[in-house]
Amino acid sequence: MKFLRNTIDKLKPNFEKGGKLHFLHSTFDGFETFLFVPNHTTKQGAHIRDGIDLKRTMFFVVLALIPCTLFGMWNVGYQHYLALGQEASLMDNLLFGLMKTLPIIIVSYTVGLGIEFAFCQVKGHPINEGFLVSGMLIPLVLPPDISLWMVAIATAFAVVIGKEVFGGTGMNILNPALTARVFLYIAYPVEMAGEIWVSGIKGGAVDAASGATTLGILGAGKEATVDTYNAFMGLIPGSIGETSALMCLLGGVFLIATGIGSWRIMLSTVLGALGMGLILNMVGGNPYYDLPAYQHLIIGGFAFGAVFMATDPVSAAQTNRGKWIYGALIGVLTVLIRVFNPAYPEGIMFAILFMNVMAPLVDNYVIKSNIKRRLSRVKA
């Protein structure tokens, strides 16, 4: 540790104003604050209730993602050996999953951080931890067999078009991880559908395995038997990190307990989906309408989206009442898109992105109505 500190202190003058490497000061600063707590002190009166900063926020979300990630890795292996009909131990499953998942994670971080560093350098901004979470979220919402060059393109798109053009971390309108996924979904529809959800069965290696997700089957208008236990635990094919509602729940509890994620958004999203599901149940008609409302919560990426994507503090609504409206509409829209538009099986992705765009509008009306209410009190 001491050696590291000494080295950094020795290098520091080079990067300060007037130093010959000053043009790289953002990068240097980024590494230094990443390795050590910065020793900058506040010069004027400070009003701190809690030392929470971007670093801790982002770090906690990454912590909350660990259960999903580990389980996701294991599930990739589990689904693979299940489809092949082979017995596999816990380690086998994990190792196979690790081999599939790790390259995707590495590509996502390398590309994303590379672009982020370049932009900070050019703009002269300090480097922040904004991409730490996105870089983890992107692999978790992708299928295990995705080509790495697609991951790279999608990440680059998400960081540049989804984030940097709006001014970088904290300024983005859309959730960057979902931007990456929706990009792939629209740019390469063939590669993002069909037999991709179980790793290693593409190309007819296994005849018996269908590899389709529940959403895919239901979307095709067929009846799907949803095994509630398996779907809740996450023992189903799907994107790497999103299959297990239980693990998302763990992450969600952690986020709520640490005050990072908004419980209002999570709860209202669930309520919205349940409500819409119940209404459709009453209407009835085809297997999708009749799917028990609670099962909407555990199939597909609903749980993952509600916990990790919808609560993104930048792109979500900011006011408390706005959060209720925002979350509820995400839930309602998710079920609506799933049931009424089978061409887009994954409704939560579109629902969240749509509400990301609408969030400022929701806030605007919440604030306006608040002003109106208080104004009428003044007049009375």
């Binding site: 078009i161 053009v165 990009f183 629209i186 390469y188 529809p189």
Partner: protein, 220 residues
Amino acid sequence: MSTEAQAIEEVAVKEKEPLLSKKNRKLVNNPLDADNPITVQVLGVCSALAVTVKLVPTLYMCLSVLFVLIFSNLAVSMLRNVIPGRIRIIVQLLVVASLVAIVDQVLQAYAYEVSKQLSVFVGLIITNCIIMGRLEAFALANKPWPSFLDAVGNGLGYAVILIPVAFFRELFGSGSLLGFNVLGEGYQGNGVMMSPVGACIVLGLLIWFQRARNGYSEEA
């Protein structure tokens, strides 16, 4: 009295203006960059999004717009003193519509495939805001020669944006250029570039590039 004399004097000076004076050259140069109809005035965007999937139809579209723009500007400029102000829009529409009908017929006769690809967008040149905008803002108040130059400038300004957009969309969307495969058989077409969303993004990037270069910023 004195102002009137001045005005007359100015008119007299104007008539002696060389054909390609600095002011006239500006009419052509300005719309190419600093006052581009698409990236700065944000006009004619619908066709920029709709016809730029492939380069070939885009080139035809640019030529068609250039043709219609030049001749409608000329015609309206020549008619400007006899068009009654209250029905000027209808007269302009008539002029544009007849020219578009000519373009449409020519395309159908000599470039049937392209005309099918462009489908309604040839007809929709009538409603292209660039054309109506130039007629209203320029041709109605200027002589034929400056109007001609203005039309050339704006038509080229339109093309100068559409062609790069189509270039990138065809390159990344289908891996080809002008219909010839350049990225290899194995290239996987990018669906975003095939959809109008891709045009919107490429257009945005072009505007970004242009503004970064020109140092333009939106006034608050």
